[in-house]
């Protein structure tokens, strides 16, 4: 297993390096950040000074080498707009996004799996059909539209929860999060639900399909014949078997939860990395965009690794060995 992990980490390094090439050049050929920064009142000398200060007068390969040199030392460059290290900015915004993504993941599992289980066990029940029909909506409606509708319904019409923003932060075990205050929870409810909607539908469909398949399997019949209670059959034997695809997909989707949070954070004015990224893209704050993408690459690589390790725990047949060779 150790060899496997080391090998995977080396592969990850290669992926990160290749991505840095693609991301850096991709971001640096678009637009001209100078005119996004200097005041309109600036004269030619001011503009020339800004170009030089940002290093944009150098050839692009030289800029890339400088970036690589910095990156090797953990410095992904300073934000053009905030003047602070891009990495630091992203890390400052990360907790807000993480709590949103984790809450959304929790909601998808807590709502999606029970509903999927029900729909799988009683496929012909009208409630199950209702669940499945609603899950199609979860897949097909655009996030930003659903977000606005949620705000209109729960905040403007009903007035139950606030429309936008992140609430008061509370401290628990040294972690500061809006999950630890009532105000914070009321603020996170709508954005987390909005973000989770797609994943809830996904969890419902995966669980249902898994349950439907498993219920016809020999081991279930055997367990029945042996006289095990239905509860034990479902929650111990069936669940264990259907969890593998669910864990894989949910694990991988956690990355996309963070990625998709861009839309949700913008609509709900949630001060996370996604909003930082959107602002950085609009204002051409290149170092922040590059740093964000690099971090996301790292994330996906790590999540993949963790999912692989979880496999082996859930299914002893999976051996973490050289699958490549």
């Amino acid at each position: 297993m150790t060899v496997f992990v080391i090998r995977r980490l080396l592969q990850a390094l290669l992926v990160v390096f290749l991505m840095s090439l693609i991301v850096f050049f991709g971001v640096n050929v678009v637009g001209d950040p100078v005119y996004m920064l200097v005041s309109p009142d600036a004269d030619q000398a001011d503009i020339a000074a800004a170009i030089q200060r940002l290093g944009l007068d150098r050839p692009i390969w030289e800029q890339y080498l400088l970036f690589l040199k910095g990156a090797a030392q953990g410095d992904l460059g300073d934000s053009f707009i905030f003047g602070e290290p891009a990495l630091q900015l992203i890390l400052q915004h990360m907790p807000a996004t993480m709590e949103l993504a984790f809450t959304a993941l929790f909601l998808s599992i807590a709502i999606g799996i029970p509903l999927g289980l029900y729909a799988g066990l009683y496929p012909d029940n009208p409630i199950s059909k209702g669940i499945m029909a609603t899950s199609i909506l979860g897949f097909s409606l655009p996030t930003f539209w659903v977000g606005l509708m949620l705000i209109m319904l729960f905040a403007v019409e009903l007035g139950w929860v606030p429309a936008t923003g992140r609430g008061d932060l509370g401290s628990f075990l040294g972690i500061r999060s809006s999950l630890f205050t009532l105000d914070g929870l009321s603020h996170i409810f709508l954005p987390a639900l909005n973000l989770a909607l797609l994943k809830i539908s996904l969890a419902i469909r995966l669980t249902r399909a898994g349950v439907r398949e498993a219920m016809g399997q020999d081991y279930v019949k055997y367990a029945r014949a042996k006289g095990l209670s239905t509860r034990r059959i479902i929650f111990v034997h069936v669940m264990k078997n259907i969890m593998i695809p669910v864990v894989t997909v949910m694990g991988l989707e956690f990355g996309s939860l963070i990625g998709f949070s861009v839309v949700t954070e913008t609509i709900f004015a949630w001060p996370g990395m996604g909003k930082l990224l959107i602002d950085a893209i609009l204002q051409l704050d290149r170092p922040v965009v590059v740093a964000y993408l690099m971090i996301m690459v790292l994330f996906f690589v790590l999540i993949n690794l963790i999912v692989d390790i979880l496999y082996s725990i859930l299914d002893p047949r999976v051996r973490l060995q050289d699958q490549g060779s």
Partner: protein, 527 residues
């Protein structure tokens, strides 16, 4: 008479009681764009300049119409050709209790142009100026040449404290340690992306604000901002999306405040290239750039219906423009009218210039910078096509657009032939657009830096330069007006309209609109 006095006293005491009752009130404002720092000298950018104005004061203040009024300086005047004397306000205290004196001014002027990592420095306004303390409440600003716009330039600089501000880094302002000013509000907290909180400065030298606490929340998405206001989460929002103005105006719970801004939206035309890249004959072959002919430029101006743009595209929320700034601003000409819509006259002029069948052209514009920018470009293209200039439209995000429009072609020249742009006169008078948009592009003198059409006219240039040397206000005003007339007569640019900004507040609150587009808590009053 006596009765009257009594009544007045009674009214005054009721007012005073009323003021007492609102003493502990909190105001929450939703902003479209967020400041990038609490350091008043870090980034010369609208949202930053508006936000820091709550905490810090300037020597010379700009009122809601951008007229210069006394701030921390009570008076200013040139004492010789090269020196301006500013008399400072006495008895003003910083939030930490220390006194405001000339030392604070001197150290501010030294720090402002030299903030590390500043994306856009205030050095632009302090170039070529030096400051000298005469006594505790008098400072002299010196220049190498006569400089009439001293007070305008100084009105962009926020004064920080000698003791805690001048040696501080931008992070110290963001954390609040150095965010100590003389302004109407004191810094409480700054959480980037989430909120900025301030409390009333009870020792403020000017009129005390009616709000005991103010919170600003950045909500960049327009519909969400409106929804947050409707939900009652916030009391007021800036930058109401034009599509929501009609619905909000019909809502009894909401009150709108609108006011014209200092921002003119205009068309710039390539006037320096014989073969302009985005202009061809009707059959697609190359032609000599028709925009070099003043008759063609005039025809284009006549072919554009400003009223249609204002009524249809802007839904009535804009003013037709005939020059660089709306009336009321310093240096505006009284002789210029909005060019009348005259498609037949435009066709006749085009025929006279040798283009009876018109030509082909592309208009380029941004699609995320000005209110309805892409739609305006489309409307202009349709109007021009109607008089025979078949115009295609290409719009792009501002991050791509401005770079290409300014220096996208070979040799750092402007890339496009015909563009839609806007200009906000930060100084609040006509020399700002004249200097940057109209004067010949001249790197050495620092003029024409935003002259993307490269209009160049010796007569206009001479008038602008003379105005910029003339210290006498009345004379300068005349020269600026004359320069504007010369530019508009030669169709250096084609102004279409002035932007009107809209704020929306819950019922009972009103915002005094500002031409500089700032959203200030002191401008929010109760009915």
């Amino acid at each position: 008479m006596k009765k009257m006095t009594k009544a007045t006293v009674a009214a005054a005491s009721i007012l005073a009681l009323g003021a007492g009752a609102v003493a502990a009130e909190k105001l929450t404002i939703g902003l479209a764009s967020e400041p990038t720092a609490m350091d008043p000298h870090f980034h010369n950018l609208g949202p930053n300049n508006a936000m820091t104005l709550h905490i810090f004061d300037r020597l010379v203040d700009q009122n809601e119409k951008q007229q210069l009024v006394p701030g921390l300086a009570v008076s200013w005047k040139p004492i010789d050709d090269l020196t301006w004397e500013f008399k400072l306000r006495e008895g003003v205290k910083f939030h930490d209790g220390s006194d405001f004196t000339a030392d604070d001014v001197v150290c501010t002027v030294e720090r402002a142009p030299n903030v590390p990592n500043s994306p856009s420095s205030f050095g632009t306004y302090l170039k070529g100026k030096s400051v000298e303390k005469v006594d505790d409440y008098t400072v002299h600003f010196k220049t190498a040449e006569p400089y009439p716009l001293m007070a305008n330039d100084i009105s962009t600089i926020r004064i920080i404290s000698d003791e805690v501000g001048c040696g501080a880094a931008t992070e110290d302002f963001n954390s609040g340690v150095a965010a100590v000013g003389t302004g109407p509000f004191k810094f409480v907290s700054y959480t980037p992306g989430a909120s900025i909180v301030m409390e009333r400065n009870d020792a403020y030298w000017g009129e005390a604000p009616i709000w005991s606490e103010v919170e600003f929340r950045p909500i960049s998405s327009g519909p969400s901002r409106v929804a947050a206001l409707l939900a009652g989460d916030i009391d007021m929002i800036a930058s109401v999306p034009t599509t929501d103005i009609t619905t909000l105006a019909a809502n009894d719970e909401i009150q709108l405040s609108q006011g014209v801004s200092n921002r003119v939206i205009y068309l710039h035309m390539d006037q320096f290239r014989e073969d302009s890249p985005f202009i061809t004959a009707n059959d697609g072959s190359d032609i000599k750039n028709p925009l070099m002919d003043v008759r063609v430029r005039k025809a284009i101006s006549m072919a554009i219906s400003r009223d249609a743009i204002v009524d249809r595209v802007m839904e009535g929320v804009a003013l037709p423009a005939g020059q660089l700034l709306p009336e009321g601003f310093f240096g505006v000409s009284d002789n210029l009218e909005v060019v009348a819509y005259d498609p037949d006259g435009a066709k006749a002029l085009l025929a006279e210039a040798g283009y009876p069948d018109g030509f082909q052209m592309t208009i380029h514009g941004p699609n995320d910078r000005y209110i309805n920018d892409a739609k305006i470009a489309e409307a202009v293209a349709q109007m021009l096509t109607r008089v025979g200039i078949r115009t295609a439209v290409e719009t792009m995000p501002r991050s791509v657009y401005f770079g290409r429009a300014s220096r996208g072609a070979e040799g750092d020249l402007p890339e496009f032939s015909f563009i839609l742009v806007g200009w906000g006169a930060g100084s609040g008078e006509a020399s700002s657009p004249l200097k940057s948009l109209i004067h010949t592009f001249d790197t050495d003198k620092g003029f024409g830096s935003a002259n993307r059409g490269r209009y160049s006219n010796a007569e206009t240039d001479a008038l602008i330069e003379e105005a910029l040397r003339t210290v006498d206000d009345a004379k300068r005003q005349e020269l600026l007006a004359a320069a504007t007339e010369s530019a508009i007569e030669n169709v250096a640019i084609i102004p279409t309209h002035f932007q009107v900004n809209t704020w929306a507040a819950r019922k009972g609150l009103r915002y005094t609109p500002r031409t500089d587009e700032y959203t200030l808590a002191i401008g929010v009053t109760k009915d």
